[in-house]
Symmetry: C2
Subunit: 323 residues, 2 copies
């Protein structure tokens, strides 16, 4: 796949993710319409839609074909990612007024509404994922004319169970055992002397704050497509590698990156005496580890029979970025 | 049921709710153990455990017998109620340092951890409710020896569908269409002149901020016990009446209550020029409405064959309280 083909496909994938997300936005009506506005403002703040794209591509690779079901989960994971940014930006957390050149949710709607809009998004993510159950249930057990009507009860049971498993994985990776746990350790580390951070803590933060939702994206895609236990576990490892490699590359770029290309100053970690993967393991080792993690991620994907050329290239692009 | 019998039964119900909740607390281990501590600190802050009690009593009234499944939902609804208090207490919201004579979560663990602990609790509520699916699924489809092993696929499907419906109801009543929506309207009203609040807005806030989770408690109890659609709808109305009557009584007590008995000053609403049910409709009408709403709630319960003497008395006690 050449660069133009890749760029075309990435653009189409992002457009699809964007349109799926739009189809799940809450209507801005009712007495509480201001919170719906704040939720939608947060969701429509741009962003690469990386998690829904990874989810959909993994789903296709594993043979998935059910658009409405995967769509609910693509929207749900982007809502979870978004709520985490909305809460991260709050004055009590990172106190950011701008993100991607746009005013953050709390800066537009106030602190209190920022908290509530984030809560609303997290809750709505689960409401949206649960719509997939309603959809399958109606299609299978209701009066709609469809192929599913001919399924046996055992087959219906199997389909509902896979959606359950997908919601459970999403919840687990998003919560205190996953992403929120990583944010908590990160917040606590900021209150301590950065020099004291161990490699174990740093990896914990990267694994939970970043890799967990990438794992959820790929695992949910695989589960909904009917992949085997072994395949889901393999993708969990693949996504771990992607998340960690992505973060190490982040630390590398802060030392050797081009501030113009990055759109932010380099050397800020060193200036803040921040412990990073580079300060802990050295630049050479950091570069070697990125290589090894990404090679291993691609090797896992190559174990899948389904088409995954675009997915592999996307992963390499994410990791080996210069900005 | 005399007062002593009622008090005994209430104490036992609260103890059961407390012990169910304890059995679902996350272990305080791992690098993120501080967030688990903050979550558990919030959950173990006392409280009447009203929602889990209402849920369990409704479940029993409708013939439910499955302890583990209802237990997951009893814990989940208390986690949702608790997270809403944790976020309400934040400096950016009500800025409360004490609740029930105990330091609030953010005041002990800091603002940032207060936000994350609330997020963790909301997410964990869904993780906990999802455990009910895992449990039923394992019991029905795994190798465990149980009565369920003899169920047909159709019967298994029906059981899983009822749990799914229960989670959907819980999510809907907790989110921006439910409780969070009520909090959002309340927050916005505070920013405006209180005199301008209409009866419609006041009822919206009471219905969503208070009644929604009471509705979830009773509806989930009924759904999990296998109640009919009509019964679930009747209980939704019953819980609405309970929630609204409870709030009107709150407004009445602020005018005629005994400050010693209430443990807080009376007349604060008038002092703050706060629009209440009493200022909008007058004291006599407010009292009449409480009577009518509670009579109607009991009338609905009396349509159920299952034992509900304690439940009825509990509801009357809640509404006709003097503190």
């Amino acid at each position: 796949m050449n660069t133009k083909e890749f760029d075309d496909r990435l653009r189409k994938a992002a457009e699809r993710a964007e349109s799926v997300l739009k189809s799940h936005l809450p209507a801005e009506t009712g007495q509480q319409k201001e919170i719906f506005e704040a939720m939608n403002y947060s969701l429509m703040a741009g962003g690469k839609r990386l998690r829904p794209i990874l989810m959909e591509e993994t789903y296709r690779m594993c043979g998935g074909k059910q658009d409405k079901v995967i769509g609910c989960f693509m929207a749900a994971i982007e809502m979870i990612h978004t709520y985490s940014l909305v809460h991260d930006d709050l004055p009590a957390m990172d106190n950011d007024r701008y993100r991607r050149g746009r005013e953050t949710t709390w800066y537009v709607y106030g602190d209190a509404m920022g908290i509530l809009a984030g809560d609303g998004l997290l809750n709505y993510a689960f409401e949206t994922a649960l719509k997939a159950v309603a959809y399958v249930d109606r299609e299978m057990c209701g009066n709609e004319v469809s192929d599913s009507a001919a399924l046996s009860d055992g087959e219906k049971l199997a389909r509902l169970r896979s959606i359950w498993r997908a919601i459970s994985v999403l919840a687990g990776k998003a919560g205190a055992f996953g992403m929120i746990g990583g944010q908590a350790v990160d917040i606590m580390a900021e209150g301590r002397k950065q020099e004291e951070m161990t490699q174990e803590q740093l990896l914990f933060i990267h694994e939970h704050k970043t890799a967990a939702l990438i794992q959820a994206a790929m695992m949910v895609g695989a589960i909904l497509a009917g992949a085997s236990e072994g395949q889901v576990t393999a993708l969990e490892k693949c996504a771990y590698n992607i998340g960690i490699a992505f973060q190490i590359q982040d630390d590398i770029l802060d030392v050797v990156g081009d501030s113009k290309e990055l759109g932010k100053p380099v050397g800020s970690d060193a200036q803040n005496h921040k412990q990073t993967y580079v300060t802990l393991k050295g630049m050479e080792q950091a570069k070697t580890d990125v290589e090894e993690l990404s090679r291993e991620a691609i090797r896992i994907l190559d174990g899948f029979e389904g088409e995954h050329e675009f997915l592999s290239q996307l992963i390499l692009t994410l990791i080996h970025r210069s900005k």
